[in-house]
């Protein structure tokens, strides 16, 4: 794929091309050009806005290129800086104070590609919005929501993503049997000040790819196929997406994660590209990403199934990390597990799944800061995470938790035990063997260690280790596991 300009001369050449080109009014409304150019905005004005409104000074390596929204700018890197400052890259500068990891996020890899993609996107935006808001949305409301009917996969279905009451993504999709893939007739995203860069494209792509996976097709996604929407007496026909190719905003996002979308056919994301995109849009911590990579490359697991398991919530991050890290049965589990008639194999799989669930529940407990019983006013349910991290130890089948908040007492313990030092090593099991007890005694010499067992399992005899009791009984855990395995069995189709 095009990695953007190389060297400073290429950057200045690209900027010259941007300033010299004739852009549409929508682009000129955002673009910052030198002096009294054709644009409504100048670079000088942009600097003034930054000086006046920005919480921090703009790094000297950056030159404002265009406004992204009311509170952020797209800037070109014109001098080499730290690892993010690759010459020619387009970075987003937030005027307001934002989390450090969301400032200076990559918007695109090249000034010409960026402004051209803006022109394509904005040129088709009106048509796309009319399609979504006046035609597809109301038709779907009339034909399905009002009648409480669930649409089949071949029906054109709208998707809307909003964050804090602001719509950031709209799309309309339908499975198309004629090429066994997904057809997309609308795709509209935008950047807003309170949402991380490209998050609308990432989230919309995740939803669309999950739908493509569930529909059981080839994962090809086309933007040039006709579709019809009917509700009552109204009927609308579409000849593909208004841009008639992979939408510019999605291609722009693809470039930022190193994927050239529509490389083989500008109007389609081919199955191999969809696979790369699926992996890119699925959030994973570095340790899990490495483990997923190993599962794909060396254990023959399908990337699509791994990504779907995470994005659909069948298995959470720590649970999947546990499955992949500790057991060779992970592939079978992710596909829905062994047949119940193969009891010994099923027995082993259930134990792996139970322990994954218990690890996930404990992580949620340690990482949560739910103030349901606190006397601090209204209960806040958003962003109450502590920021706990974990590491799976495949050698002993344990999880190490780091970054916990020291509590007065450790959770899930009958007796009051002051929260010990870090890291806390946890071995989730429903069967405690002599070998495990010996391992716990050995680990207890080095630091805090606990065995987590279901609520109704007889108390294991351990030396120095702690015994934490999960609030769920064995049968509750098995029920939850079976629900997950059933979802995995029937998720594709």
């Amino acid at each position: 794929m095009d990695a953007g300009p190389v060297g400073m001369d290429a950057v200045y050449e690209a900027l010259g091309a941007v300033y010299a080109a004739n852009w549409s009014d929508e682009v000129l409304d955002l673009l910052c050009v030198p002096g009294d150019g054709k644009s409504l905005r100048t670079i000088e004005e942009a600097f003034e806005v930054v000086d006046r409104d920005s919480a921090y000074a703009l790094p000297p390596e950056l030159l404002p290129l265009s406004f992204v929204d009311d509170r952020s700018l797209a800037c070109v890197v014109i001098e080499e800086g730290d690892h993010r400052m690759r010459p020619g890259s387009i970075l987003r500068w937030h005027l307001d104070e934002v989390a450090p990891d969301t400032q200076l996020r990559l918007l695109d890899v090249d000034p010409v590609l960026y402004v051209s993609s803006l022109a394509q996107e904005l040129g088709a935006r009106e048509a796309g919005l009319t399609r979504m808001l006046d035609e597809i949305g109301p038709s779907y409301q009339e034909a399905y929501l009002r009648n409480e009917k669930r649409p089949r996969d071949f029906v054109v279905r709208p998707i809307r993503i909003a964050c804090q009451n602001v719509i950031v993504g709209l799309a309309a999709i339908a499975q198309e049997a004629s090429f066994d893939g997904l057809t997309v007739v609308a795709w509209q995203t935008c950047e807003v000040p309170h949402v991380a860069t490209h998050e609308a494209n990432r989230a919309l792509a995740a939803l669309v790819l999950c739908d493509a996976f569930q529909n059981g097709g080839t994962m090809e996604i086309r933007f040039d196929r006709s579709a019809r929407v009917t509700a009552g007496s109204a009927s609308y026909s579409y000849d593909g997406h208004p841009e008639a190719q992979v939408p510019a905003s999605l291609r722009r996002y693809g470039r930022t994660v190193g994927i050239e979308l529509g490389a083989e056919d500008p109007a389609a994301i081919f199955p191999a590209e969809a696979r790369e995109l699926f992996l890119a849009v699925t959030p994973m911590r570095p340790g899990l990403r490495a483990r997923v990579g190993d599962a794909i490359e060396n254990r023959g697991m399908a990337p699509e199934r791994l990504c779907f398991s995470l994005l659909s919530g069948v298995w959470r991050e720590i649970e999947l990390d546990w499955l992949l890290g500790t057991s060779d049965l992970a592939a079978s589990i992710l596909a829905g597990g062994a047949d119940w008639r193969q009891r010994p194999i099923r027995q082993a799989e259930m134990e792996v799944c139970r322990t994954a669930l218990m690890a996930g529940m404990l992580f949620a407990r340690l990482d949560g800061r739910d103030g349901a019983s606190a006397d601090e006013g209204p209960r806040m349910v958003e962003d109450r995470r502590v920021g706990v991290d974990w590491e799976i130890d495949p050698e002993i089948g344990a999880v190490r938790f780091f970054g916990r908040e020291r509590e007065e007492r450790l959770p899930w313990l009958a007796e009051v035990v002051e929260d010990p030092a870090e890291p806390l090593i946890v071995l989730p099991r429903s069967i405690v063997t002599a070998e495990l007890a010996a391992t716990v005694s050995r680990l207890a010499e080095e630091g805090p260690v606990a065995v987590v067992v279901p609520r109704d399992v007889p108390a294991p005899r351990l030396g120095k280790g702690l015994v934490m009791r999960c609030p769920d009984r064995l049968s509750d855990l098995d029920k939850a596991v079976e629900a997950k395995l059933l979802t995995a069995r029937i998720s594709r189709g």
Partner: protein
């Protein structure tokens, strides 16, 4: 990476244990007879099995006799072998079988425990496997779109299944997402030998959830005609599935399959197998095992698993009892536009705004 450790543990058959093993066996028998989608008996079996296995683990921890098992023996191993019960599977090593026999003679049951977190070596016995390639995309050779493209794609699958006859890893057909008219008519064309000299091919059927039907679909298996050679002794008009399209109720004698049984959450191939089994039994009963001529007008719905399972049963019946059955598919057509309301297409059946058109008959 941890390893799976499997072993049989000698568990004294005291009253509680004996009753528990009996309950496990009873639950297993009930689960085996239950519908594929009905997990109630499976859950009961598993809950009881867990109780038994927990007791075995406790006994093992307390020093009860046990015998380690090779991983290869796991697939065939039942949960428990009680005194006087079935013989241990032949896949068990002779020494283990002898040991199990001695336990059983002493009044102990042998209970299998399978521990997934035994000490192991990182990737010790793991076989390196390549990642599966991305799915192959499909494109119409003739540039068709819409329904024609769907038909072309499904026929290409059927053609590939014929082409891959005898090869290892035969090409499966995948009817998922294909309209029932296309599935029915295309299958008929490929079941019919039509004067071609090729051999019969039993094509695997795979659905998009990855499940594969236990029964293959016989292609190039019959010389089909559209009607019975003689007058039918029994003619019936049936809806393939009950409740699905109530507008059919006025024109049919009954429903072939109960929606409540068929439309359940289960892998698609299991629905196909279930429909096949039900249909084989019902066809056999209605034709009195092929001794009575039956003509069925089948008013179809779009559930591809039901369509494939039913026509597989029709094909298998015709292979065994040619001349005893004719099935005429009846396809639902979209209701006419208001200005054309009440006008039926020539040759169709219109009843209370429910138009159907006949497809090509299946008879041999």
């Amino acid at each position: 990476m941890r390893a799976v450790e499997a072993r049989l543990v000698a568990l004294p058959c005291e009253a509680g244990v004996e009753a528990l093993i009996a309950d496990v066996e009873s639950a297993a028998a009930r689960a085996a007879k239950a519908d594929h989608a009905d997990r109630a008996d499976i859950v009961r079996f598993e809950t009881l099995s867990v109780q038994l296995e927990q007791q075995a683990v406790l006994a093992w921890s307390a020093g009860a006799a046990s015998a380690a098992l090779p991983a290869a023996a796991l697939a065939e191993l039942p949960g428990a072998l009680r005194p006087g019960g079935a013989d241990p599977p032949a896949s068990l090593p002779a020494s283990v079988r002898a040991e199990v026999e001695s336990w059983r003679q002493r009044g102990c049951a042998a209970v299998a425990i399978c521990l997934p977190f035994a000490p192991g070596v990182e990737g010790g016995d793991r076989q390196e496997r390549e990642p599966p390639p991305p799915a192959e995309r499909w494109e119409s050779e003739q540039g068709s779109r819409g329904r024609q493209a769907v038909e072309e794609r499904f026929e290409a699958q059927l053609q590939a299944a014929l082409g891959g006859a005898g090869a290892e890893g035969r090409n499966a057909i995948s009817p998922s997402g294909v309209q029932n008219t296309v599935v029915t008519e295309a299958l008929r064309r490929f079941v019919d030998r039509g004067g071609s000299g090729g051999e019969r091919v039993d094509a695997p059927v795979e659905y998009r959830d990855g499940s594969q039907a236990e029964n293959t679909f016989p292609l190039r298996a019959l010389t089909l005609s559209e009607e019975l050679g003689e007058e039918p002794e029994l003619s019936l008009r049936m809806a393939l599935l009950s409740i699905r399209h109530t507008e059919m109720d006025a024109v049919v004698d009954g429903a072939w399959l109960r929606n409540a049984e068929i439309s359940r959450k289960r892998p698609a191939a299991q629905t196909d197998d279930l429909v096949y089994e039900i249909s084989r039994a019902q066809i056999a009963e209605l034709t009195r095992d092929g001794s009575r001529r039956l003509r069925l007008q089948m008013f179809q719905t779009g559930l591809e698993t039901a369509v494939v399972g039913f026509y597989r049963a029709v094909t298998m019946h015709l292979l065994e009892h040619p001349g005893s059955l004719c099935v005429v598919p009846m396809y639902h057509q979209a209701p006419p536009r208001p200005k054309k309301r009440g006008r039926a297409k020539k040759g169709g059946v219109v009843q209370s705004r429910a138009p159907f058109r006949p497809g090509t008959g299946w008879a041999a």
